[in-house]
């Protein structure tokens, strides 16, 4: 294994579409570039089997194939990748020191592209039954619920996509949503409402997940009537939104009330030399195409900042 050097022009934190696009631009601009990824290359989109709205693919492409191609492209231009968890960023003169689980790295500019992760509800039973009926990935685990009844929690694109995916396997899918209408896009809503297997529990929130060795049911509370009902299900698919991976950035860059990084149109954060791109930044529309766009903007801003 070749030794990985510690000093770079640019460090990119996060290997989803935003970070990969930034890496293509900085590496191609002949800036020495390091990508730090804590888990797996590709980000959230790897859970999507069919990306239908990324320009250039008339046939849907899987999230994993799309992002692996981006990584290959960036690596071809000279991007280096390490797998480590970033724990802090500290400015030191004109350098930024990035601390990780695998040691320190320094760079003139940092691009934050760490995205977001699935929000957990924190209700009783959720942690205990994860992997025992509670799932955060319908495409992974749907097949284990062949002919069983399941619940999907949430009303956005992720939730409705999961509910539709689950119709291939489950007997009945109950979507539990805290409002009386869906946030998901029209095309997904049409698919969900025409699916015979999908039912909706409106104005309802999950308050507990119960069972023995495995999930056997959920408790649902109506937000208007406060009435609690029990629903027997074998699986609970959580899709209640996302939280940005910005825990380590408090006090480093300015965050908004949602915890996302505040940027201007050049993707500059409140700290000189630190840029942000993709789902981690404030007001992101959370699409692959906007993430790759952000990545390019952040990379070009970083290049200008470095004066190279």
């Amino acid at each position: 294994m070749s030794e990985i050097k510690k000093e770079y022009d640019v460090i990119i934190v996060g290997g989803g579409p935003a970070g990969l696009s930034a890496g293509i631009y900085t590496a191609r601009a002949r800036l020495s570039s390091l990508l730090i990824e804590k888990g797996a290359i590709g980000g959230q989109i790897i859970n999507s089997l069919a990306v239908e709205n990324y320009p250039g693919f008339a046939e849907a492409v899987s999230g994993i194939d799309l992002t692996q191609a981006m990584h290959q492209q960036a690596t071809g231009f000279g991007l280096t990748t390490v797998y480590a968890d970033v724990t802090g960023i500290k400015p030191s003169g004109k350098k930024q020191i990035v601390s990780t689980s695998e040691g320190h790295y320094t760079a003139g500019a940092v691009i934050l592209a760490g995205g977001s992760e699935r929000q957990k509800l924190g209700i009783p039973g959720e942690a205990e039954y994860t992997g025992k009926g509670v799932s955060y990935c319908a495409t992974c685990d749907g097949a284990f619920f062949q002919d069983r009844d399941v619940a999907v929690v949430g009303g956005g694109n992720a939730a409705i996509t999961e509910a539709i995916e689950l119709t291939k396997f489950a007997r009945k899918i109950t979507v539990v949503h805290r409002r009386d209408e869906l946030r998901a896009t029209r095309i997904l809503q049409e698919k969900a409402f025409s699916g015979k297997k999908i039912e909706f529990l409106w104005d309802s929130v999950l308050t507990a997940i119960t069972g023995d060795a495995f999930v056997e049911g959920i408790t649902v509370s109506n937000v208007k009537t406060k009435k609690e009902t029990r629903l027997p299900v074998a699986g609970v698919f959580m899709a209640v939104g996302f939280k940005p991976n910005t825990g380590y950035l408090r006090g480093v860059v300015e965050l908004d009330e949602l915890g996302t990084v505040i940027v201007n149109e050049r993707m500059e954060t409140s700290a000189p030399g630190i840029f942000a791109a993709g789902d981690i930044r404030s007001q992101s529309i959370r699409q692959v195409v906007s993430a790759t766009g952000d990545g390019a903007v952040a990379a070009i801003s970083a290049e200008k900042y470095l004066g190279k």
Partner: protein, 107 residues
């Protein structure tokens, strides 16, 4: 040489339950993206723990009975077997450092 080997129901007893060294089984399926992501990490672990732990993969699509027997309902699931008994399991994608920690704690 120490890459995880794919096994089926027919060989599970001999390779896993009757093994003398601890065995790590990676329950996976081709349509599961996090499984494809965890695979290279497990391959690296197989290299590092060569001689101490044997590594096998079980495709849950082809072997639903084994998956059912060990209560696998989310994939990827990694289960460590010692003397034929499951001693620890890890569900979902985890970074390598975390997997090593769970593995070392259980060994």
């Amino acid at each position: 040489m120490s890459k995880p080997v794919e096994i089926e129901e027919a060989t599970f007893k001999e390779k896993v339950l009757e093994a003398e060294t601890p065995v790590l089984v990676d329950f996976w399926a081709p349509w599961c993206a996090p499984c494809r992501m965890v695979a290279p990490v497990v391959e690296e672990l197989a290299e590092e723990y060569d001689g101490k732990v044997s590594f096998f993969k079980v495709n849950v699509d082809n072997n639903p009975r084994i998956a059912g027997q060990y209560g696998v309902m989310s994939i990827p699931t990694l289960i460590l077997f010692k003397a034929g008994q499951p001693v620890t399991n890890v569900v979902g994608f985890r970074p390598k450092a975390e997997l090593k920690k769970s593995l070392d704690a259980a060994l």
